[in-house]
């Protein structure tokens, strides 16, 4: 956010995106260690689902997405691994379990 008054020296640097208070809570990495490390911290701090669709329930029929979020053994990835926000991780959990029930995903696999 550039300041319109040019008389004062602003501390806002153009390459640091302005962080709104409520947004920064989701999926925040610790200590700002990764500032400027990824393409844009403002983009990366949201999980892959929130970025694309906003807060939406993950469909258990979308096996294409779900199979990427399981290990080769069929286990679910932790939130640390998948990078999801809490809401999406819970939604994902339900989706995977439903898909397993309907034999779209395995419970256990080699």
């Amino acid at each position: 956010m550039e300041s319109t008054t040019s008389s004062t020296t602003t501390t806002n640097r153009p390459d640091r995106p302005f962080r709104s208070r409520d947004d920064s809570r989701e999926g925040r990495s610790e200590g700002g260690r990764s500032k400027g490390r990824f393409k844009s911290f403002a983009e990366k701090r949201r999980c892959r689902f929130c970025r694309k669709h906003g807060r939406v329930t993950i469909d258990f029929k979308d096996i294409g997405t779900l199979q990427k979020l399981c290990t080769s053994q069929g286990k679910m990835y932790s939130r640390k691994r998948s990078g999801n926000c809490a809401y999406c991780q819970r939604s994902l959990k339900v989706a995977i379990k439903r898909a397993r029930f309907m034999a779209l995903l395995p419970y256990v696999s080699r």
Binding site: S29, E30, R37, K61, K68, L69, K80, N84
Partner: protein, 151 residues
């Protein structure tokens, strides 16, 4: 109270292949018998199952969207339980029925390839990959969850 539902049915593959219309009619008939208003009822696809169910290795799915009085849902489930043609069913209550274009397609003949790529975001500011170094002694890594590789 009438609610919108999405129902996914896993059907016996042999019967589905022999006579799709009769098995679809059977499912629709059961839905209507309990007062459901069927909005959409289509074959979703046929696929190899992720695991064997009884003797079945492949199955055909039917995806239906309908509205029904919630009180009658349990009776309907009971009827589906008794049927031998319907192997599994799953009803999800929806706020509103999505348009046909929003429905995810079943990828029929694709092999399931599980496992995400290594370079996915680790969610915590891109720390070192999990499996390439021994677990640290510090408290920073509380739960070593998935994989379970104890070196």
């Amino acid at each position: 109270m009438i609610s919108n539902y999405e129902g996914l049915f896993l059907l016996d593959n042999k019967e589905a292949k022999n006579d799709w219309d009769s098995i679809q009619g059977f499912v629709n008939g059961l839905l209507q018998k309990h007062g459901a208003e069927i909005v959409r009822s289509n074959k979703w696809g046929e696929r190899k199952l992720a695991y064997d169910i009884g003797a079945h290795k492949r199955g055909t799915y039917l995806l239906a969207y309908f509205k029904i009085d919630t009180q009658r849902l349990d009776e309907m489930k009971h009827d589906f339980n008794l049927s031998e043609k319907v192997l599994r069913y799953l009803f999800v209550r929806l706020e509103e029925i999505p348009p046909e274009t929003a429905t995810v397609a079943l990828r029929e003949d694709e092999e399931l390839v599980l496992g995400g790529p290594e370079e996915e975001s680790f969610g915590r500011g891109g720390r070192r990959p999990r499996f390439s170094s021994p677990p640290p002694s510090a408290a920073s890594d509380e739960s070593s969850d998935d994989g379970g590789d104890s070196n």
